[in-house]
């Protein structure tokens, strides 16, 4: 571990800097607010010779992800970034990318979906891509956005995995906020991510047919192998974060947490809201309330075992979703958590708070109110409702 100077970066810039240090070979990307700065910085790195990569300025996100699949199977280290409508346009090929076992690194600057048109923070974009077989990681701050970019390539390209990985950063809150970060050195980055080794690149000396048709007699076996690759993600992730800790001194896990060891009431969140709830929790802890906070880093594959270890010691849980499963039981993370609780025999009350859609601000006093609500759930042994849309006017 080498000491390096701290740098002030916007989230997008920090990600672009990490992608440069990852020495990617091919970038195919299309502009969409608020990830555009990533693409702009990467274009500059390539144009100025700071990054020896092919930059493909595609005509749509659909072509961006398609070019990434081709380049990845050709053996390159491949990166793209998008969000919102762009991720929705990619959707068809998100399935192909994972099912064809094409490792790709992608940043998603989580933004709401049209209509009404809105460019601000929400997690609906990635929730739409929840079941595509991608690994989905969430950053809580700019440092994490930077660090998880390295970890994402490490996991994606591992021969046991060979799957695309997304790193999610909250629109504007992270993409456009300037925060100080401590980068790793170029030498450490090169050691952590040496040039990609891939056993089956497109090679005329060894012709392989990629993307065959499979009839009902073989299709399920393809899908089972694909599912098993996702099942291997945890072991590879654990190795990747350990190795990253050695060079960075920063430890990553399936989640970030605050005071969960002796907590009775837990609030679970995704993304930058973790910092807000954690700050509020500090205040309540000083009052003696036994509240804890969890910010999930790995959303897919869902780290069920790790969640169970924490949840089985809780007396109530509030799950915060910055998205909603319309027509379903609540937010997507909430439905995951109640599933984990039920099938592991953990009979505690669980409540869902749907908040911050379309970038609506979520402030410290609101976080405090939600922690108090969780604590009240412990005292009263339940909640009045399953799902609340936080702060919505009627």
């Amino acid at each position: 571990m080498t000491q390096v100077e701290r740098l002030a970066f916007m989230g997008d810039e920090a990600v672009a800097y990490a992608v440069k240090q990852c020495n990617v070979d091919v970038i195919a990307a299309y502009p969409i607010t608020p990830q555009t700065i990533i693409v702009e910085r990467l274009s500059e790195y390539v144009a100025n010779g700071e990054l020896d990569a092919a930059f493909i300025p595609v005509e749509s996100e659909h072509s961006a992800i398609s070019a990434c699949v081709g380049a990845s199977l050709a053996g390159a280290r491949v990166y793209t970034s998008t969000c919102s409508q762009g991720l929705a346009l990619m959707h068809e090929i998100l399935h192909a990318a994972s099912s064809m076992r094409a490792p790709i690194g992608m940043t998603i600057a989580n933004r709401s979906l049209n209509a009404p048109l809105n460019i601000h923070c929400e997690h609906s974009d990635v929730m739409n891509a929840r079941d595509t077989g991608w690994v989905h990681l969430f950053a809580n701050n700019v440092q994490q956005a930077y660090d998880l970019t390295f970890i994402s390539f490490k996991v994606a390209e591992d021969p046991r995995v060979l799957l695309p990985v997304s790193v999610n950063i909250d629109a504007f809150v992270l993409s456009h906020s300037v925060e100080p970060i401590t980068p790793i050195t170029d030498e450490d980055a090169a050691k952590y991510l040496p040039p990609r080794e891939y056993e089956y690149p497109i090679n005329p000396d060894r012709p392989i047919t990629y993307g065959t048709m499979a009839l009902p007699d073989t299709y399920m076996e393809f899908k089972m192998q694909f599912k098993e690759a996702l099942d291997r993600v945890p072991e590879v992730f654990e190795e990747a974060v350990k190795e990253y800790e050695k060079i960075s001194g920063r430890r990553y896990w399936y989640y970030d947490s605050y005071e969960i060891e002796d907590a009775d009431a837990l609030v679970i969140v995704l993304g930058s809201t973790y910092g807000t709830v954690k700050t509020a929790a500090k205040k309540l802890r000083a009052e003696g309330l036994k509240v804890g906070v969890m910010g999930l880093t790995m959303f897919r594959p869902l780290p069920e075992k790790e969640l169970v270890k924490v949840l089985r010691n809780m007396k109530a849980v509030v799950v915060m979703d910055r998205a909603y499963s319309y027509g379903g039981l609540g937010g997507p993370l909430y439905t995951d958590i109640i599933g984990v609780l039920y099938r592991n025999g953990i009979r505690i009350p669980a409540k869902n708070i749907v908040y911050g859609l379309g970038g609506r601000d979520f402030k410290l006093d609101e976080a405090e109110a939600i922690l108090r609500m969780a604590e009240k759930g412990v005292r009263e042994g339940g909640f009045e409702t399953h799902v609340d849309w936080w702060g919505v006017r009627r």
Partner: protein, 314 residues
């Protein structure tokens, strides 16, 4: 790279097949012939990228593959984009790691090229990748069961442009794919016919020698779609050229050259009458549609002749 640059006779065509026998395309399939010839025309290490369509489903049914070259299929509308990624990965990995360079040929049907894949194709042509794109055109969505496409000619009956009593066949004319390709100012674009294999194969060779994006549009008769006897595939492909229904030409750096001259065209009815998709056009009540079709074909031929004679750069 092979020593032979251009073919003079069919005897010079290699016996080796990179598109193998035993695939599941129909008896008499024009696209199968176009694939077989294309794969005999390659000049060296080659990678094929293929859109969803007849050729894809009938040649890559797991665990079988008809392809003796690396082959990749991802989806329907993104073939040119997938090819862009492969070409740029190959170029940068050659530079950074010394990996071998190869030719990339993208292949799509008319649906995957004229319609749903047009945006990705346009993007790839504009960006200037070193790509050869071959469109095998059977003039409708044949893989899904004969639905009209932007390549279906005026008046032709398909399952979504049936020969009805009010609307007899497709009311719109065929898109000009080469016109669209040439509008990108690419160095080479050409049409070709499987009835003229030497012309077709030499165009592939020529295109591969040219740096940048190239488009070849080959007409491939379809037995179930055009509704004719499987033994008539080459006959129909030839009649399409001899009647000036499908002019065979190339556009090199914007200059048009008609490569198969047709001085005395046969009546277009000779081409139409062998196919049941046009049966209704030969009835007296639809004579005006037949006339409109003929007029369109004549205008197109005259336009190409004028462009060739004038040497105007388009």
């Amino acid at each position: 790279m092979s020593e032979l640059k251009y073919f003079k006779t069919v005897k010079e065509i290699p016996r080796e097949d990179r598109f193998a026998k035993g695939h599941r395309l129909c008896a008499g399939c024009g696209a199968a012939i176009a694939m077989k010839l294309a794969m005999k025309a390659v000049r060296g290490p080659t990678v094929v990228v293929n859109a969803t369509g007849c050729v894809e489903v009938a040649t890559t049914c797991y665990p079988y593959s008809a392809w003796a070259v690396p082959y990749i299929h991802v989806a329907f509308e993104n073939t040119a984009a997938v090819a862009s990624g492969i070409i740029e990965a190959n170029r940068i990995l050659n530079k950074k790691r010394g990996w071998k360079l190869y030719d990339v040929i993208a292949i799509g049907g008319d649906g995957g090229t004229f319609d749903i894949g047009l945006q990705a194709l346009s993007g790839a042509l504009e960006r200037g990748h070193n790509l050869l794109y071959i469109c095998y055109d059977n003039e409708a969505y044949m893989n899904t069961g004969i639905q009209r496409s932007g390549a279906t000619p005026l008046g032709a009956a398909t399952t979504t442009s049936p020969a009805g009593t009010i609307i007899p066949g497709k009311p719109q004319r065929k898109k000009d794919l080469i016109g669209i390709a040439v509008a990108h100012r690419i160095p080479y674009a050409a049409t070709a016919s499987i009835a003229y294999p030497i012309d077709y194969m030499n165009k592939i060779r020529k295109a591969l020698e040219i740096e940048g994006p190239k488009v070849i549009h080959v007409l491939t008769p379809c037995v179930p779609g055009w509704r004719y006897s499987p033994s008539d595939t080459i006959k129909l492909a030839r009649l399409a050229v001899e009647t000036r229904y499908f002019p065979v030409y190339e556009v090199e750096n914007g200059r048009v050259k008609i490569t198969i001259k047709v001085d005395r065209p046969k009546p277009v009815e000779e081409f139409l009458k062998l196919q049941r998709r046009f049966a209704h056009l030969l009835k007296p009540e639809n004579a005006h549609i037949l006339e409109a079709l003929k007029r369109g074909l004549e205008e197109n031929w005259e336009r190409l002749v004028k462009l060739e004679e004038s040497g105007v750069i388009i």
